[in-house]
Symmetry: C2
Subunit: 343 residues, 2 copies
Amino acid sequence: MLSNRQLLVLQVIIDDFIESAHPVGSRAISKREDISYSAATIRNVMADLEDMGYLEKTHSSSGRVPSEKGYRYYVDHVIGPTIKNGKINIMKHLIQDEFMELEKLVQKSAEVLSDLTSYTSIILGPEIYDTKLKQLQIVPLSQHTAVAILITDTGHVEHRSFSIPAELHASDLEKMVNILNERLQGVSLVRLPEVLNSEVLSLMKIYVNDFEKAYDYLKSAFFNEQPSKLYIGGKTNILMQPEFKDVDKIRSFYSMMENENEVVNLLRNPQNGIQVTIGHENKLEAIKDFSLITASYHLGDDQMGTIALLGPTRMEYRKVITLLNALSNEMTEALYLWYKNNG
Amino acid sequence: MLSNRQLLVLQVIIDDFIESAHPVGSRAISKREDISYSAATIRNVMADLEDMGYLEKTHSSSGRVPSEKGYRYYVDHVIGPTIKNGKINIMKHLIQDEFMELEKLVQKSAEVLSDLTSYTSIILGPEIYDTKLKQLQIVPLSQHTAVAILITDTGHVEHRSFSIPAELHASDLEKMVNILNERLQGVSLVRLPEVLNSEVLSLMKIYVNDFEKAYDYLKSAFFNEQPSKLYIGGKTNILMQPEFKDVDKIRSFYSMMENENEVVNLLRNPQNGIQVTIGHENKLEAIKDFSLITASYHLGDDQMGTIALLGPTRMEYRKVITLLNALSNEMTEALYLWYKNNG
DNA sequence: TATTAGCACTCAAGTATCAAGAGTGCTAAC
DNA sequence: GTTAGCACTCTTGATACTTGAGTGCTAATA
């Protein structure tokens, strides 16, 4: 347990370092208005904090720098309790645009978020779990090709072109689409493959010649790859940070960002609320120098998606956490409204 | 006009420099098997080439480095004549996938291209000028919202969600869609706004209540923004190049790449064939250190799109130009086949 | 006359040395 | 318990020196 004075010093050092990116010395601290101790006293406190693992030196006679443990303590005990559950109305003007699709809205939010901080923002989702199939259409383009279009009740549209096998007759295709629409309308997307197997397959056997081929086509066209909707904003922001002067670091960061799967895995956040992962707490090698703050947004009980900010461990935690918390609330609210209008 | 010897030396220097990224000295050249002159002779030649502006020194006693004029000469007179109009079958396996959409195919090509070189690849298009509208659909999602879907005869799908104004009745909406489909089917996309104005507007006046509102909605939903289909591959590749150690350069490069419009403008290439822009020949400040090689691919007479590679001025011109030339041929052929199947 | 060997000269880049400054830890005094 | 004082450490930037690669020029050579 830290004494009040230790806590104060830790806090001041972290605040200072977050702002300046330079190691903080005892004299600088003792000069501050809110500190009434001499440099020597501060030095003693700092030595204690270092022994406890909250601070580090860059070399034997340097000022102190927060360790990851220090940041952890700072986030958990200093910032955490002060966060109010507010909103800032970042998205207000975005939501008002009636043409705005859900996805555009999210994308826009990612941009705003990265502009507001100087970090990289990542937004995952929304994955609407009880999204239901609204309509399935197959529009023939020519004798050999057609485009399949899947529309959900949330206005999300997926499409896939495919060639029509010579064996499959146009009439069969039509029948198939009719069966599918009849049986699958209103079925939630996650249950689609299941229902397809249990209910539709048998029907197709009866009515559609060469149903297997058709079925295979259908399945591969829609139900294989679930594209994760990932929006990244401000990828160049980390280049502003003094800790990323090193080209190798930059490269490993950008390589990671280009790999969607890795980023998605990073964000899969089982817990609710704000989640802070500092430096080596991150499982991914490429971001051992980074901190990642994630927040989820919801509709009802289902987690819908994740907003995150990625920056150096020397991050403006207070600002970022407040912002992310607010935005997550706003998005939850916006989704609720949006959904009410569309439900 | 350069003498044979001068040309030889220029060529050797450029080849060497492209490979090593280090200034090339006279001794190194004279040691080469294909060079039978002493270092002193080479020095004289180099001095001449420098006077003519084809070479530069990095400092008064350094080896020589090609100037932009040098590269220009090299590209125009050394490489240009040797390029054969070949194909390499990069895309062969890509095209065989029957599910592949045109856009995916292009995207994949961009990836392959950047993997094959160590530069950044940019592909624009395909913009199919005589793409025709196949079908227009409006699927209501709820009382207040609907999603409009536009399908072209090339299998391209655009969609936009919008809210239905209270004043607009469902029956009107339906009527409108019917009118639109009837009148606009088969109309080429570029002529869409025009035909909309001339033919459809008057019809709508007659049959649809509150046609103006509906018309406005429609227009804003589809005909405003023409999304340019831009695919970029290997953005991290330039970080491998030794000339981009400087964080500022990296930042300005990535900032530019994030701005789609700028990139698109870069590629709008009025001419056919391969186009090489070296260093300061580029209009965009951010790529004054880069060379850009563009090639167009076609269907018939219309230019359809552009493939490009962006790398340092010290680029493997021979390899890149050969590759791009081949790929442009392949894409033209692939499009032809694709179109034949779909026409 | 064209080529080459030789030599003095230049510059970049790496290395060593030094001084200044910021900061520490410890001790002794308050 | 707090602080002043002091010796000590380490970084940083400046300066100088060395080395090596490379040049330009001149005079000798084929």
